[in-house]
């Protein structure tokens, strides 16, 4: 099966692999997750009702409240974190969120990851090298 490789910049080190959950929209933190399940409960968001737990979460960038980092850290504390973040753009919410959620994260790729990756694709993230390898579904 053909593989696609994206090269970007490390936000937070480490490696992970898993199924992608992709949104072209920016993603919030505060008021966006059900901490019992890991489901997105941001009403009106493209990912509403989808579960981020254990996924390679692919999104444009962080948005909304500065409580972003605490929400993403809380997902770790309840065992519902995504396995990695892959973002098109980098902003403080995304970076601090990745650091305190302690997940590998990569950004600023040679191509837009929200275009190249589709939900359900198998994605390997090597954050230290800034490399993301995609096997299409």
């Amino acid at each position: 099966m053909s593989k696609i490789v994206l090269r970007g910049r490390k936000i937070n080190g480490g490696s992970a692999e898993g199924e992608a959950l992709v949104t072209k929209e920016s993603l919030g933190g505060f008021g966006c997750f059900d901490f019992d399940t890991g489901k997105v409960n941001d009403f009106g968001h493209e990912l509403y009702g989808q579960n981020v737990s254990g996924k390679i979460l692919v999104f444009r960038t962080g948005k909304g409240s500065s409580a972003w980092s605490i929400a993403h850290q809380a997902l770790r504390f309840v065992g519902k974190s995504p396995k990695a973040y892959v973002t098109k753009e980098c902003n403080p919410q995304t970076v601090l969120g990745a650091v305190v959620a302690r997940v590998p994260a990569v950004t600023e790729f040679d191509q837009d990851p929200t275009e190249v990756i589709s939900t359900g694709d198998w994605v390997k993230v090597d954050a230290d090298r800034g490399v993301v390898e995609i096997t299409k579904k």
Binding site: N41, R60, G64, S66, F77, P92, L96, A98
Partner: protein
Amino acid sequence: MLGSARDEQEMLEGKEGPARQKAMELLVKYAEGLGAERFVDTNNATVIVGSIPDVKIVEKVVPSLDVDEIASKFLLDSDERVVLDKVKAFTTTNATFRDQRYPELQRGGKPHCDLLQKMVDYLKRVGVIHLATCTPYQVGNIPMKGEHCAWTESSAVAFCNSVLGGRTNIEGLHSSFASAVTGKTPLWGMHLDENRLGKIIVDVEVDMELIRDWYLMGYYVGSQVGLDIPIYTHINRVPDLTRLMGLCAAGIASGSIVKFHIVGITPEAPTLEAAGGNGKNLKVLKFGKEERRIAYERLNHSDRDDVDIVVLGCPHAGLDRMRTIAGMLEGKRIHKNTRLYVTTCHLIKNLADKQGYTEMITKAGGSVWEDSCGLVLAVDPSTVFACDSAKMANYLPGETGSKNTWFGTTEECIQAALTGKWRGELR
């Protein structure tokens, strides 16, 4: 290089104690992730302690609820329990999101109120000033133009950068507290001149008299511009504090607007050229009646027009709002099926008490809450809300579980409180 300044080195080596060491380590990881090359000194931080997760999650991580352990894990992301003596920077608290007088009306009840009181006592112990508001600039923490800050609270971040000309990125609880502890913040993003220029011109075609329309403009533009800084042009009114607070709050609720310019109004935008650099390649976005309606319709969704709860004061109501709301309610009576909350901070509420505004509101059947937020009300998911803030309307479904939200003018909200029915419309 990051962390190479002498004082930074000493903190990293633990010479100023383990709490400063952990805070500095966190800031280094954060700054590396951002791509920052060095730190800048800051003497102005605001910490959003009210965003700490529900007490049930905190208790799972720290069963003893020992406050130093909670602070280590939830404020500094340190697995090791560290005890902090004092913060370095001038630091104030954001809204705690709980009015201690009404624990049972807010999510998490008394256990969560008690946890937040414990955190507030901790913050005072380490030298943080307890302003308890999402609008610190209203009550004594007022950044000056060019001042490097480490602020939390999205709407306040936008206000600091856009209206005051202060410089802050949108910090989280962890990074702002680490900045408070160390007096450092990454020299990145909004701290650098070149990142403060506008990228998109917003051509405003509607009359901007109503406060409502400042929220709608921010809400629409926030959903369109991504991380780019908008430059608002052709605005036909000089906005007051309430209107600017609304624009700030809405643009970062629907999106990520940490800074905007209004030509002729905000301090870094004396002219379009100044706001946008030489700005040959600026994109243009229209804000006319159609765009206003798109934002309005995204914020209004309810399956019935009976209103259960009216929430005013997002961001925290200022003195002019308190005066206006009290005036609208004087001598009137709120409908028996409807509750009305006006949220502000304790300093403004103290003034409203002395001025007689609180009594005017409570005599009509309303309630003035201090240091809290309508988003934390413990409600049944079928509850119908009405509010005059696009930020409130944006977050209500996710925070309270209720999908029934009406958004409109303050007058429409007061009418809803008095009659129990929503009759708002966008003409």
